[in-house]
């Protein structure tokens, strides 16, 4: 029997984000479960569920990423296939919408496990991954949080 589980982060989720977060979790589950029910692989289901959450600004990943102290975006992602023990991951990437896709490319197209920073961004370019404006990855909530934490507090 196929099974999928997802999470959208463990933290003190504010009350005003809970309803949208629950909807996002349901969307991700449905996306992944549909893949499994139609005969897709576990790897494809995991990717489908994570892409849904990366595209949802209510989650801190992809579109919705928070900002570094310098106001930049740095995203990390990993995928692992338990049937082959192959894994791929990326660290500190920016300018791409779905880091989980890039992690999958590291797993499938290279002999490596982890690519980071400039090298990971170059690899994305080599693989033809479309670049997006960094601003498009930053949600209003992420911007507010960054301003609250860097500009001042009581």
């Amino acid at each position: 029997t196929p099974v999928i589980a997802v999470h959208g982060g463990a933290w003190a989720i504010p009350e005003n984000m809970i309803a949208d977060t629950k909807l996002g979790i349901q969307d991700a589950l449905r996306a992944g479960y549909q893949v499994l029910q139609s005969g897709g692989t576990a790897l494809e289901a995991v990717q489908a569920a994570i892409i849904k959450m990366e595209d949802d600004p209510n989650f801190d990943a992809g579109n919705g990423s928070v900002l570094t102290y310098d106001g930049d975006v740095e995203m990390d992602s990993m995928i692992m296939d338990g049937s082959t023990m192959k894994a791929g991951s990326v660290g500190c990437v920016n300018s791409i919408a779905n880091p989980i896709k890039l992690a999958t490319l590291v797993m499938e197209k290279t002999d490596h496990v982890l690519l980071v920073g400039e090298g990971a961004n170059k690899f994305a370019k080599e693989m033809g991954v479309p670049r997006v404006e960094i601003e498009s990855l930053v949600s209003p909530h992420a911007k507010e949080e960054w301003e609250r934490k860097t500009v001042g507090h009581d």
Binding site: A10, A61, V66
Partner: protein, 139 residues
């Protein structure tokens, strides 16, 4: 941070995790997410795990691999989740959360933070929740 773990109809296991980091983090800081055995792990002979929470603590205890190790010793997905997160809190004072699926489809989910958004789908039913005792379901 977001994550997913799945077991397909052929019994293959996969896991994935993705994050935008922590607000105002030091540039260049990398947490557990892209590290195999920390942010996630998958092994057809045991099951799969995706983690979230205090990345530095998760790295120190290799949380995802620790959970699969406990499952190899005979613990269920739920028992292993609880034991590994309590161990992380006791050893390094870090909180977090995990989702786990065993190779035979058993689901584990646990967290030592205030809340964790999570859910699972099995036997045509989906379950989701945010607070510890807040689990809803629908077909």
């Amino acid at each position: 941070t977001v994550g997913a773990v799945a077991v397909d109809s052929m019994g293959n296991v996969a896991s994935g995790t993705s994050t935008g980091g922590i607000t105002a983090k030091r540039p260049g800081r990398v947490g557990d997410t892209p590290l195999v055995g920390c942010g996630g792990y998958a092994d057809n002979e045991v099951g799969g795990v995706s983690t979230t929470g205090h990345g530095e603590g998760i790295i120190k205890v290799c949380l995802a691999r620790h959970i699969t190790f406990l499952m190899e010793q005979g613990l269920s997905a739920q028992e292993a989740s609880e034991k590994a997160l309590e161990n992380m809190y006791n050893k390094v004072g870090s909180s977090g959360g995990v989702i786990v699926i065993s190779k035979d489809g058993g689901v584990g989910q646990y967290f030592t933070t205030d809340k964790m958004a999570r859910g699972w789908a099995k036997d045509g039913q989906i379950y989701w929740g945010v607070a510890m005792d807040d689990i809803q379901s629908c077909p």
